[in-house]
């Protein structure tokens, strides 16, 4: 049922890794769609194939079998209209914050001058005004990750892929960045695929949570989060929030998996 409004349409996706000791089945029978402007979180334990899935969506890895379409066009390799944010900020230390944000503009020759003010605007949006001419190593981990998010958005991609972007940060920074990401998303309404192994983070941010279990990686359930935005951190203690979290956790605890 590929609706035309779907940005991402995945059907029957399978991924095997060929290794020296035979093939590893990383993903099998993955089906899902992501609608225009939708924020979808994928939650699952370590090693269940989340990064593999994201790399296939980004065109960095070929699928072994199945369909992966972006706006009805098969993803066969890297595309210019996808933004990616990795677990680590992956900034270039020889570039200033502004130049890091403009990296996609440089690579895709979109015109530095045209995009400079957009970059400054986005940096202001993530609260980094005044840091444009600093270098990444002069910034805290949380600030670096905000630069990475800005870089993911600068070329106005059809979709933003985020692979545990806050996984390496401490709990407090992480909470504040969750709030920040929500604010940014409310502002620009990107289509986002957000990977995490924190159930609370997934529920807090997403419109819909896809639950993944390992060996092989599969999506076992989709949970819609019908909580209106903006959501505050107080929500974390609310019963409706706890209900959804418990429902998701049940998938993992029944299999003896900690997530």
């Amino acid at each position: 049922m590929a609706r035309s409004a779907d940005v991402i349409h995945v059907k029957g996706l399978r991924k095997e890794y060929g290794t020296a000791r035979g093939t590893v089945l990383a993903l099998d029978g993955i089906d899902f769609t992501v609608g225009e402007g939708e924020f979808v979180a994928i939650v699952g334990p370590s090693g269940c194939g989340k990064s593999t899935l994201l790399k296939i969506l980004a065109g960095l890895l070929p699928a072994t079998r199945g369909e992966v379409n972006l706006r009805s066009v098969p993803i066969t390799g890297p595309r210019r209209d996808i933004g990616v944010v990795f677990q680590s900020p992956v900034l270039f230390p020889w570039r200033t914050v502004l130049d890091n944000v403009l990296l996609p503009v440089d690579v895709q020759r979109l015109g530095r001058e045209d995009n400079r003010s957009r970059a400054l605007g986005l940096l202001a949006l993530v609260g980094l005004s005044g840091f444009e001419h600093r270098y990444p190593w002069e910034l805290s981990g949380g600030m670096q990750q905000r630069v990475a998010i800005t870089r993911g958005l600068i070329h106005n991609p059809a979709m933003l892929l985020m692979d545990e972007p806050f996984g390496a940060l401490d709990a407090m920074t992480r909470e504040s960045l969750n709030l920040e990401l929500q604010r940014i998303w409310l502002e620009c309404r990107e289509t986002v695929v957000f990977i995490t192994h924190s159930i609370a983070e997934a529920v807090f941010l997403a419109d819909r949570v896809l639950i993944m279990t390992p060996r092989p990686g599969q999506i076992v359930e989709e949970v819609a989060v019908a909580i209106p935005r903006p959501r505050s951190l107080d929500l974390l203690a609310a019963p409706e929030f706890g209900g959804i979290v418990r429902r998701i956790r049940a998938h993992f605890s029944s299999k003896g998996i900690e997530a």
């Binding site: 980004a58 996808i82 992956v90 990296l103």
Partner: protein, 265 residues
């Protein structure tokens, strides 16, 4: 202040060791053609400097060293890039490189002088040969050192291989390349001097030999001192370039230490 105290201690130590040297040579009546006292070395240094003979030969050795450094570095960078970029090139060049690398390159100097004559060319070639390896090895290692996540990021933006090279691999390789250049500079000076020993019409290495034949050991010491200063200045020039180019690199020292492990002259 501790720093001031340490600095004056350093000067004091230098003066003391020179005094011990001077005193020991005089007291033990060591002949000047074995070990001259520092006062004689100083006098030789003064005489040669005033007459302009050191400067005249210094320019020649400096030119040989710099040209050899330039030639060796450019070739090393190009070959290193070709090897890092394509496994095929590596496959075909690797046996020669391994063989060449394990050979003491100074042993080639006599051959180089036979082939290229007594003039400047043979010294430049010798310097280039010896300074080639440190940069080759470091260029290859450096270009391969680019962080996989950063390569993935570039790929995800649909960057071309050339863009990945220019925007990512080359800057990532710079700490290695700069460390390689520093070693190459020192080696280049060695290569020039060795070739001058084998056969030359001019240069500080030739001058050392002619002083040696005439048993002017104080003169030899004076030239050795000049060579040490020259080496220091060349290195200092590269260090200041490195500081400017690699302002962003937190691990400069580590790269520097690992650089000098392979490819000795």
């Amino acid at each position: 202040m501790n720093g001031v105290r340490n600095a004056s201690l350093r000067v004091l130590l230098l003066i003391a060791s020179l005094a011990v040297w001077e005193g020991a040579v005089r007291a033990l009546r060591v002949p000047a053609f074995i070990l001259p006292p520092p006062s004689q070395v100083g006098a030789a240094l003064y005489r040669g400097s005033v007459s302009g003979i050191y400067l005249q030969h210094l320019w020649i050795t400096l030119a040989e060293t710099l040209l050899g450094f330039l030639l060796g570095s450019v070739v090393a960078f190009v070959v290193g890039t070709a090897i890092a970029a394509s496994p095929r090139t590596e496959y075909f060049l690797y046996p020669y490189i391994v063989m060449f690398q394990s050979m003491p390159k100074v042993a080639l100097a006599p051959l180089v002088v036979v082939w290229f004559g007594l003039g400047l060319t043979s010294k430049v070639v010798s310097a280039a040969l010896i300074s080639f390896f440190p940069l080759l090895v470091n260029t290859i290692a450096g270009l391969r050192s680019a962080d996989e996540d950063r390569v993935d990021l570039m790929r995800s933006l649909a960057a071309s291989e050339l863009q990945i090279f220019r925007m990512l691999r080359l800057p990532s390789a710079l700490p290695f390349i700069m460390a390689g250049l520093e070693v190459a500079m020192v080696f280049s000076l060695v290569g020039a001097i060795v070739a001058e020993f084998v056969g030359a019409e001019a240069g500080l290495g030739m001058l050392i030999q002619s002083r040696n034949f005439s048993m002017d050991v104080a003169g030899e010491f004076a030239i050795l001192f000049i060579l040490a200063v020259l080496g220091l200045l060349l290195n200092a020039a590269l260090v200041s370039v490195r500081r400017r180019v690699l302002f962003w690199d937190p691990s400069q020292k580590a790269a520097l230490n690992s650089a000098s492990l392979r490819g000795g002259p």
